[in-house]
């Protein structure tokens, strides 16, 4: 896995890397990069420096909004747009996972069971990124391979009103991408999609539907069997 959460290091592999291959070239080979003498490069700073720092939610909303608008120019239809947002989320998720596990240090544990990884996502990951837990974690009873994580008010959607003609769109696809990356990173390949499922109290309630690849279930079955 990448040692460095720079957006560039994995940029080219973001969409395909289900099991990232290490790329140490830049770290071992002599680099041509110039570094500031004022010790401001990423290597001069502690990775925990920004662990608790905050920015305004507005700044994120504007950035996210512009990302959606940019993506919208280059897509055909809602599905395509959600796919783009998912990929952005995926890139963010990969890096967040690295940070999270690195920060857990020696206590970091490799989740090996479906329930374990889902709980990791709806608790630790959610808390780290959104300062709250996911609201529910449920299993879809009809389908063995499907689970749902719900968020009553996804932070990316707070200010978004989806126009009528795109009613199927949920920009939570971005968060779905984050979840997908974290699942992939733990070798639980799955497809994650975001769906609007409002209730009376929460008009923006979103359900993330997680559909695991067959091999995940097979492995799980082996573990249960043993």
């Amino acid at each position: 896995m990448n040692r460095d959460p720079s957006p560039f290091r994995t940029a080219s592999t973001a969409s395909t890397a289900t099991s990232p291959t290490p790329k140490y070239a830049n770290l071992t080979a002599s680099t041509n990069l110039r570094y500031s003498l004022t010790r401001k490069s990423i290597y001069d700073r502690h990775l925990n420096r920004t662990k608790t720092s905050e920015l305004s939610k507005s700044a994120f909303a504007f950035l996210f909004g512009e990302m959606v608008q940019y993506a919208q120019k280059k897509v055909y239809g809602v599905q395509d747009l959600e796919k783009k947002l998912n990929l952005h989320g995926y890139a963010v998720g990969q890096r967040f996972l690295e940070l999270l596990l690195w920060r857990d240090g020696r206590t970091a544990k490799r989740e090996t069971r479906i329930l374990g990884i889902l709980q990791f996502i709806s608790h630790q990951l959610y808390r780290a990124i959104f300062q709250k837990q996911a609201d529910t974690l449920e299993k879809v009873r009809e389908n063995e391979d499907e689970y749902m994580i719900s968020d009553n008010d996804p932070v990316v959607n707070t200010y978004i009103s989806v126009p009528k003609e795109m009613s199927q769109l949920n920009c939570g696809a971005f968060i779905a991408g984050i979840i997908e990356a974290v699942l992939d990173g733990h070798c639980f390949p799955a497809k994650v999609t975001a769906h609007t499922a409002p209730n009376e109290l929460w008009p923006g309630r979103t359900v993330f539907l997680i559909k695991f690849e067959p091999e995940v279930l097979e492995r799980e079955a082996l573990r249960v069997g043993s």
Binding site: E66, L115, L137, R141, M148, Y159, S161, S167
Partner: protein, 191 residues
């Protein structure tokens, strides 16, 4: 007063109407078919910003910087129902009048502000023009004193739920379900 210029500019945009989000996707119709894996306790919604105490707001209008009407909504009975075309004309007229009211200022002040409060027998209107030229018009029952607070809050909601909505096109009519919803819960209809 020449209102034809702005009129053509906005005539093609339909009036701002409230649109309800279409039915959400129902993932799994039978709710009972779920196993709950968490003990996530029910949390009430975050408290809404305080409602208006004892104040009847009739309507809110928003004009873009060219005087085009981009939002109109009635909250409580008190004003006549006008056709969307009449509202467009009214907005354009007011836009022009507003500019003149700052021109005819008899005082020496260099920074002239246009009309801020208008009173009639039956209503009071607070007009707030932002530094970017957008105008917020709040109509309320006569002799309301706290309209500054209201207008300020409406501006904040606009900044949040209109400006931050990637699907809103600047200067165009506002069709934003989130804005409608939050405005409504702030300016709660009085019976």
């Amino acid at each position: 007063m020449n209102v034809s210029g702005w009129f053509e500019a906005v005539a093609s945009c339909s009036s701002a109407t409230t649109n309800s989000r279409s039915q959400a996707l129902s993932l799994h119709p039978a709710a009972s078919h779920r196993e709950n894996l968490t003990s996530s306790s029910f949390k009430p919604p975050t408290p809404r910003p305080g409602h208006l105490p004892n104040m009847v707001v009739y309507a809110v209008l928003i004009l873009n910087k060219a005087g085009g009407l981009i939002y109109q909504r009635d909250f409580n009975p008190g004003l006549q129902k006008l056709s969307s075309n009449d509202y467009l004309i009214l907005a354009g007229t007011f836009h022009g009048v507003h500019a003149i009211t700052s021109q005819i200022s008899p005082t020496n002040e260099t920074s002239s502000s246009g009309l801020e409060v208008l009173e009639s027998e039956n209503f009071v209107m607070r007009c707030f023009q932002t530094l970017t030229g957008t105008k917020f018009l709040i109509f309320a029952e006569p002799r309301q004193q706290n309209l500054d607070v209201v207008v300020r809050r409406v501006y904040e909601l606009y900044a949040d739920y209109v400006m931050k909505n990637p699907f809103y096109q600047i200067e165009m009519p506002i069709r934003s379900e989130g804005f409608d919803r939050h405005l409504n819960s702030y300016i709660k209809p009085h019976q």
